[in-house]
Symmetry: C2
Subunit: 331 residues, 2 copies
């Protein structure tokens, strides 16, 4: 008996040391967040749903958190990253399409006018999407995205696009996962455009990425099966398409949702119009020095109705200027 | 030093004991499988992709295994379980639809003729699906399925449908998960029909269930958001729809796939027409005593082209009669 007790001492010490490490780390899981109402609301929520004695305790399998991507996890100014990809793909494909020199919206894109991409309205954008996002196999498209994102640079900062991710949001993803959450991306961007890099950049595997979806056709040629990308849109994963995408892919209702625009409003409503402790959070772009400042009047990432509703319902609104002591890791 | 060594002894003993338990369990992770070529092919595959020194080693995140449901994980005779659900729902809804007494295919269903459900061809089946699978919210539908499956019984065995699952396949699911696999269902059945019970019965959570998908519409009424089930079909997750469903939901190509019919053939091709060690397995229904015997001539679970291809490509074919010493846990 005595021997057992004595010999267990180092084990107790080990457990204590591990416990200490854990507590030490947990002391500030969100170091890039300033102390303030936003940070406190996050920590209070996580404590409330994970502490077993809490009346709001949620079992691990139900801890589903959904994140918008553009403007929520990485920068979306001056235009969406996927639009830069489209421009570069149009340029790369131009030699095979001499007619594009005079045909809009291709001509504007080739002349280097980024606004040309939207000048033709929805039809113009659709034409550019069809030209760059269909006709190839999913494997080929994945390689095109991977090759592009490995070298493309943001025009303002000169950083790789994958460095234009928000350090506080990376900490938040990690903090939630450390507390038993499964983290999903729910973006209006193309699902196949995100999957090649989300695991490396965000720690989110392909099966936890939800986005806009195009048609696919399975075919076998010369004994090699492939999925060909078709030009039709199956799901526009924006606005009221977001709860639809969430239900199709996850089949559970999130208990936490993170966005930055009116395109995320329905996802936040689906999450937070619900009994029990929930967290709905808007990233408000208020920092024109370190990032950008835009909301109600912006045509990219417009945040108008969502801002009103956040105030009305007491959702968390993060001011980048005031709540984040670091925006990008490269700062 | 001496004290540390001595005092570590119980810890070593504990580790050894845990190791012993683990080895003891691993000695036969598939007790309902007879020793034979099928079982050996499974164990050989798992060893090949999980042993780090193996030339076929696959990292954990890439260990994706996809399982058909009807006829692969649970029985599909004399008709699909979902058809029994449809019949019972039509009966439950009949008082609100007096016109169904004379209107096919409803009239046949109400008269208790299960073949009436298919007598009207695809249009008849579509009418029954629309009547029972659309118009309600996803939450309401989930409750209807949950209430039904808690009490409904199989007409031949008198067992709950959730007991009509194959014990050897439950062991296989568990064996793969214990070896780092993520297990998915990829079924032609309705995704919302399976999700209410797959976690409890198979250990597969809703977000790892892929099935046929209908339209959804997000709406908020009286401050309560809901997703309404629409009558249109978005994905028929059968035959060449299976690789499409896999790509949309998972975004990775499986390294193991399990089916029982020609409806699973494209999923197996997508999985096994690939370099590297792969496992494609067909459950062949050969036991008319303990289960059912059917293949090339059956209109449910027809296995014809798949059987030829399995022989040609040396895929694993499980004979229920010869390879399983137990079919159902209740035996």
């Amino acid at each position: 008996m005595n021997r057992t007790l004595r010999s267990a001492a180092p084990l107790v010490g080990l457990v204590a040391a591990l416990g200490f490490c854990s507590i030490s780390h947990a002391a500030d899981p969100l170091p890039s967040w300033n102390d303030g109402a936003a940070k406190r609301s996050i920590v209070k929520f996580v404590d409330g749903v994970t502490r077993e004695s809490s009346p709001d305790f949620v079992p691990v399998p139900e801890r589903i958190a959904t994140f918008d991507n553009d403007g929520t996890l990485w920068a979306e100014q001056p235009i969406y990253v996927q639009v830069f990809f489209i421009i570069d793909r149009i340029k790369a494909l131009a030699p095979q399409h001499p007619e594009w020199k005079t045909q809009e919206p291709f001509a504007s894109v080739l002349k280097g006018d980024p606004r040309g991409i939207t000048a033709g309205g929805e039809d113009g954008v659709a034409a550019l999407l069809v030209a760059t996002h269909s006709g190839m196999t999913t494997d080929e498209f994945s390689r095109q995205v991977g090759d592009w994102i490995a070298t493309a640079k943001h025009p303002k900062t000169g950083q790789p696009f994958t460095a234009m991710v928000y350090q506080p949001m990376l900490e938040l993803l990690e903090y939630l996962r450390a507390n038993g959450f499964k983290t999903f991306i729910v973006s209006g961007g193309g699902i196949e455009f995100m999957r090649p890099w989300t695991e490396k950049v965000y720690g989110i595997p392909p099966e936890q990425v939800i986005g806009s979806i195009g048609g696919l056709k399975f075919d076998i040629k010369d004994g090699r099966p492939a999925l060909f990308k078709l030009p039709n849109v199956v799901l526009n994963d924006d606005k009221d398409g977001k709860p639809v995408g969430i239900q199709r892919h996850i089949g559970r209702r999130p208990i936490a949702a993170f966005g930055n625009s009116d395109g995320d409003l329905q996802m936040l409503q689906w999450t937070c119009y619900s009994p029990g402790l929930r967290l709905c959070l808007y990233v408000h772009h208020t920092d024109d020095k370190r990032e950008w400042a835009y909301d109600r009047g912006s045509h990219i990432g417009k945040l108008d109705k969502g801002l009103d509703e956040a105030k009305l319902r007491d959702w968390t609104v993060v001011s980048i200027k005031d709540d984040w002591n670091k925006v990008f890791a490269f700062e």
